[in-house]
């Protein structure tokens, strides 16, 4: 038997899928060896998710064949995929927040009308899986109360419980902190050591390099390249993804910072439960500088942005804009916009856009009161559309169609719509949250360049990002935030990742 080659865990041959006029997948072939971690990279809209949706039975391919462990399989529903030993962890988790871990794991595989037997079996199985893969997780914890990283583990456990041999993960790190991402990679390696096969969809090259054995690159629905990870490099992958050479570093000329524009002193904030989310935060933004906030998600960055944008009122503290103290009435999103404080929110789909609206309507969100968008007393669709068309052209929003529903744009293009809207209003202060979350490489390059241009033009920028690399690359100054408190400040050129990591973990300058 040793001479017979082991068939690949997954083999896709000549997969094609069209949606209307768009060829989402064109003659895609792929083989993933058993017990390996295979990465699929590509820009948003390259067809990665479609391909995986075909493999998992959400869509049926127009042409092509799927072979699982060497045997041709018809996969027409997720149930077929599960039966074939394929599990999937979605970017947006499919969990019931109010149920416990074990209840979520058995959901859809209860094994009978009475829950008790299924739950007991699941509990035992869960304990075994947890032991085997070192997944520390409390089976009776309520899922909604777990961190995002732990919720993702529940998703993985769910797939394993259903007997998955092949695990597909769709952009698994988009919602994770760097530390959580590292834990996930350790878990994927453990899965591999147990002989499981992992397919990792991502557009982050660092992850590909860190964890995969082999990698394939998709572009415009086609599989354009395949590499052994050890034999390739991020620039080579980026070039294959985008189809041209890409600048992965940010070109940032040195610049003298100008006068202080926005100052915050002693900002303290409580959430609805009375927990302090910001404690005595003081910071100053100068014209022509980018101040980055380094911190693990949930340490007050979101609240800092929201307070400065007027969405949340601080319980204590003073904010000065151009030297003048902002009253409670001034600290309103509309008033702040009038004074040049623009805000690119962290979660564009939840707060930065109305995805049910047309792109043109979103291009005026927050500025709907501008008389430039009216003809007489009424809003003028022609003017709004013309405005959107100009903005979209300047920001290379694709497709450049203002009438298209916003939900139909890719993440990167949605982000460009938001950026175009806020930057085109000539901000004095730009508050930016997660500018490149879920955005593809080509767009990241573009967005970074725009932010640096804006800084060079004299705008004061506050940057919040979970990507420490991004904060380090773009910022002139970096403030570390932990538990709602500023734990240290570094000039970007003197900051190093390890030291920032310590500050982010709460080791303050005084203690260090």
């Amino acid at each position: 038997m040793s001479t017979a080659p082991v068939p690949p865990a997954i083999e896709l041959a000549g997969i094609s899928k069209r949606f209307g006029a768009v060829a989402a997948n064109r003659d895609v072939s792929l083989a993933v060896a058993v017990g390996s971690i295979h990465g699929i990279v590509g820009e948003n809209g390259a067809g990665k998710s479609t391909l995986m949706s075909i493999l998992y039975g959400f869509y049926e391919a127009d042409a092509g064949e799927i072979r699982v462990a060497g045997k041709p399989r018809r996969i027409r529903s997720p149930a077929d995929a599960i039966a074939a030993g394929i599990g999937m962890v979605h970017q947006h988790f499919m969990l019931v927040d109010t149920l416990s871990v074990v209840e979520n794991v058995v959901l859809g595989a209860e094994g009978g009308a009475r829950l008790k037997g299924g739950l007991a079996k699941a509990r035992a199985e869960l304990a075994r899986l947890s032991r085997e893969y070192g997944l520390a997780i409390e089976p009776d914890a309520i899922v909604g109360e777990l961190s995002v990283g732990l919720q993702q583990r529940v998703e993985i456990l769910k797939a394993l419980y259903r007997g998955a041999e092949v695990l597909i993960l769709d952009e698994p790190t988009a919602v994770l902190t760097p530390a959580e991402a590292d834990q996930l990679f350790a878990l994927l390696r453990a899965l591999k050591a147990q002989g499981k096969t992992v397919i990792l969809i991502t557009h982050k090259l660092r992850e590909i390099m860190a964890v995969t054995d082999t990698v394939s690159v998709m572009r415009r629905g086609e599989m354009v390249a395949g590499f052994r990870t050890a034999e390739t490099s991020p620039p080579a992958l980026a070039e294959a993804m985008v189809g041209r050479r890409v600048l992965l570093r940010v070109e940032k000329p040195p610049r003298e910072r100008g006068a202080a524009v926005l100052e915050a002193v002693g900002l303290t904030c409580r959430d609805a439960r009375g927990t302090e989310t910001l404690r005595d935060v003081g910071l100053t933004l100068h014209a022509g500088e980018i101040v980055g906030i380094a911190g693990v998600a949930g340490n007050g960055q979101s609240e800092l942005l929201e307070v400065l944008a007027g969405l949340v009122q601080p319980t204590r503290g003073v904010i000065r804009l151009g030297g003048r103290i902002l009253t409670a009435a001034d600290r309103h999103p509309a008033r702040l916009r009038e004074r040049g404080v623009m805000h690119v929110p962290e979660d564009r789909q939840r707060s930065g856009l109305v995805t049910a609206f047309s792109a043109a309507e979103n291009a005026i969100l927050g500025y709907q009161g501008d008389p430039a968008f009216r003809a007489g007393p009424f809003l003028s669709p022609a003017r709004i559309e013309a405005h959107a068309r100009t903005a979209f052209a300047a920001y290379d929003v694709r497709p450049p169609d203002p009438a298209l529903k916003t939900a139909k744009f890719s993440g990167g293009n949605q982000q460009k719509i938001v950026l175009a809207r806020e930057i085109e209003r000539h901000p004095r202060v730009l508050l930016v949250g997660q500018p490149t979350r879920g955005v593809d490489i080509g767009a990241i390059e573009f967005i970074h360049r725009r932010l640096v241009e804006l800084r060079d033009a004299g705008v004061a920028i506050l940057l919040v990002s979970v990507e420490l690399e991004e904060v380090m690359a773009l910022s002139d100054r970096i403030l570390a935030l932990c538990g709602g408190r500023i734990t240290g400040e570094r000039a970007a050129e003197r900051a190093d990742e390890r030291e920032l990591g310590l500050l982010m973990a709460g080791v303050t300058d005084e203690a260090a």
């Binding site: 998710s49 979605h90 944008a309 939840r350 609206f357 809003l379």
Partner: protein
Amino acid sequence: MSAAPIDLPRWADTALVPLVSVAAALLVAGLVVIGIGENPLEATALLLRGALGSAEGIGFTLYYTTNFIFTGLAVAVAFHAGLFNIGGEGQATVAGIFAALACTALSAMPGFLSVAGFLAAPIAILAAAAGGAAYAFVPGWLQAKRGSHVVITTIMLNFVAATLIVYLLREVIGKVGSMQPETPDFPPQAVLAPMHQLLAPLGLKLPATPLNSAFLLALMALVAVWLLIWRTRLGYAIRTVGANPRAAAYAGISPAAVTMVAMAISGALAGGLAVNEALGVQHRLVLDFTAGYGFVGIAVALMGRGHPVGVGLAALLFGVLYQGGAELSFDKPTITRDMVVVIGGVLILFAGALDGLFRKLVALALGRGGPG
């Protein structure tokens, strides 16, 4: 990607799906007619002839349509703000009370009426709108400031209004010495002209029907709501709050304020029902004049997809059903007026609740037949 909503071309979404729903509802209703031993084609013909076959029939049909336009728009406006206003009945009732109070006050001022009688009808109409708005503002306020769900509060306030009107008609503004719970007749300057009188100077001889100038108000309301929702800042704010309250807050729009304003506008529109019934037809306030039109407005708004054109067409359809159904039950005693209720119910079921079913079918049909 997996749970992507079904995307249809605009024309299919706005026209084809509702048409399929109506066809399916009529088919089911036809089966019921067969079930009681009548010929559905004959019944349909009678229904249509009754509703549209004569000037008198058309007059009645448009009179019913007027009611449905107002109540349908009321639900539609709230719907755009993400609110389900079930309280059209109660709001119309209070609107009627306000109109009656205004008319009572006007009756007590014969001097004013003789000098500025032309102002009486506008005052009565505004009073009705204000009453509806005020009564809808209450659940709007409770929702915005107290988090009490508007569905629950509007339903409960319907009962409050129904009790209030009984008390007022019996104890306060009722006609003295009458056994009927009704007000004295409104001053003639305050009531709306019937359409047959209005058009008589133009040489049009129309039979007397309840159709009155409130119908013109309803048509204006259709245009006004379209302008409001799609061409004003307030409408933009309403739609933003309805689609994504967080994005609204980000944009500097207060979801609480929009909730209250949208409910008030919704209530004012529901007040149109009182304008048509009390000021236009009865010329006095009677008990139970809302007669369920407020609830049918929900179906009208759902069928019309919240768009004034759709609401107008759906209101016309229900107008035809009401008038044609009345004629039908007159000609065919076996088919009672309840049949209309059945058809209405089936329509609501198909157009509202089972909308997704037909969307899927239409998408499948288009996917197979169309070029895409």
